[in-house]
Symmetry: C2
Subunit: 219 residues, 2 copies
């Protein structure tokens, strides 16, 4: 297909596709002339993945390139998870570095109590420290014992995640596997957040305390 | 304290504080002269909440005002949850409305299977539909049976959330309660997402497949 077809089918402007080509996120098409290149289904699929990683996942172009490069290597699909993990944005305001570092012992304690094996260099340690700092600042202190039941739920979710990636293992199509690893890490996150919100509404109604928007007067 | 102290203690620029005052997010201080107003701890606390809702929670100024207004009403703390829920940003690209609507029956089926009581008007139904569409587009179809175990985990998380809000019930300090409701809905979300990422690394290592960043060569 031509670049215009690729644009229409993926919902991505032509200028953006050209930018991805220049940045090396998308491999070049088959060149048929000075101004004509043809693209295939693999371009469409990769373009949709790029959109998902950048628009929904919040990855930068550089981080997206790292993830896509990793996917082209012959890695175990679970190992691809690691590459995605360390490419994820975990913004911590430079002005707040010290305040975040103060929370590090609490993160260590939680990981130790859970018996989790996580690299000292994981960016998610800092991300958790930053979130705990945020909570503390508005007076919502979550101690290790408050966080443990949530950590148990996270451990259960991680087992479901990895079971799925392993079940999909298909040596014929390693890009598809790597895609799924990225999906499981990144694109399932908003799904889980929304499920929790829906469950909160249900649970609030069940406890008889829902008195707010979304309801018609006689509902 | 003066506005300059409020700025320093909250880490918010004076211009931003003045903007919040003009927009009615922050109540006016005690005016002592044409150019001097004094602010109290309640201003500092509210300012930190505004920063948390906007910077970390992604709420617009209008949505933040809705949430804060709701907090000033004498509502049951659980009912405040509802206000926060319906003020949350759930962006769905207008060009994709039809594609999202196609997923609505799948959302209905999941909610029915879980037996969840959620308003037809909940914005989170659409948010879930949009996420399912994203997943389907890159070939990761999550059927109802795939989502059910995650929904069970979300239900457990929601029970923990509401237990905490109810335990904090304190008629002396309803603003604090409302704050906590917002915290539980919004600021705990990144905590749970990060816990899942940390659990994924642990689970991947446990299955012997972690071969990637963060490790020193002899680790």
């Amino acid at each position: 297909m031509r670049i215009s077809d690729l644009s229409r089918l993926s919902g991505t402007p032509v200028g953006t596709i050209k930018y991805y080509l220049r940045e090396g996120l998308l491999p070049p098409g088959r060149q048929l002339g000075a101004t004509l290149s043809l693209y295939g289904d693999e371009h469409l699929r990769r373009l949709r993945l790029i959109r998902a990683l950048t628009a929904r996942g919040g990855l930068s172009i550089a981080a997206t390139r790292d993830v896509l490069t990793a996917m082209d290597e012959p890695l175990d699909p679970l190992a691809t998870l690691g590459v995605v993990h360390y490419a994820l944005p975990t913004p911590v305001d430079a002005a707040e570095t010290d305040a975040v570092d103060e929370q590090a012992p609490r993160v260590d304690e939680l990981l130790r109590t859970m018996g989790w094996d996580v690299s000292e260099n994981s960016p998610h340690r800092r991300a958790l420290a930053a979130s705990l700092m945020d909570l503390g600042r508005i007076g919502a202190d979550y101690r290790t014992e408050d966080l443990l039941p949530y950590a148990e739920l996270a451990a259960s979710a991680a087992k479901l995640d990895l079971d799925r990636v392993q079940r999909l293992d298909d040596p014929e199509d390693r890009f598809k596997l790597a895609e799924h690893a990225a999906v499981v890490v990144l694109l399932l996150e908003p799904v889980l957040a929304v499920l929790r919100r829906l469950a909160q509404e249900n649970e609030t109604r069940r406890r008889g305390a829902w008195a707010r928007p979304g309801d018609t007067p006689d509902a």
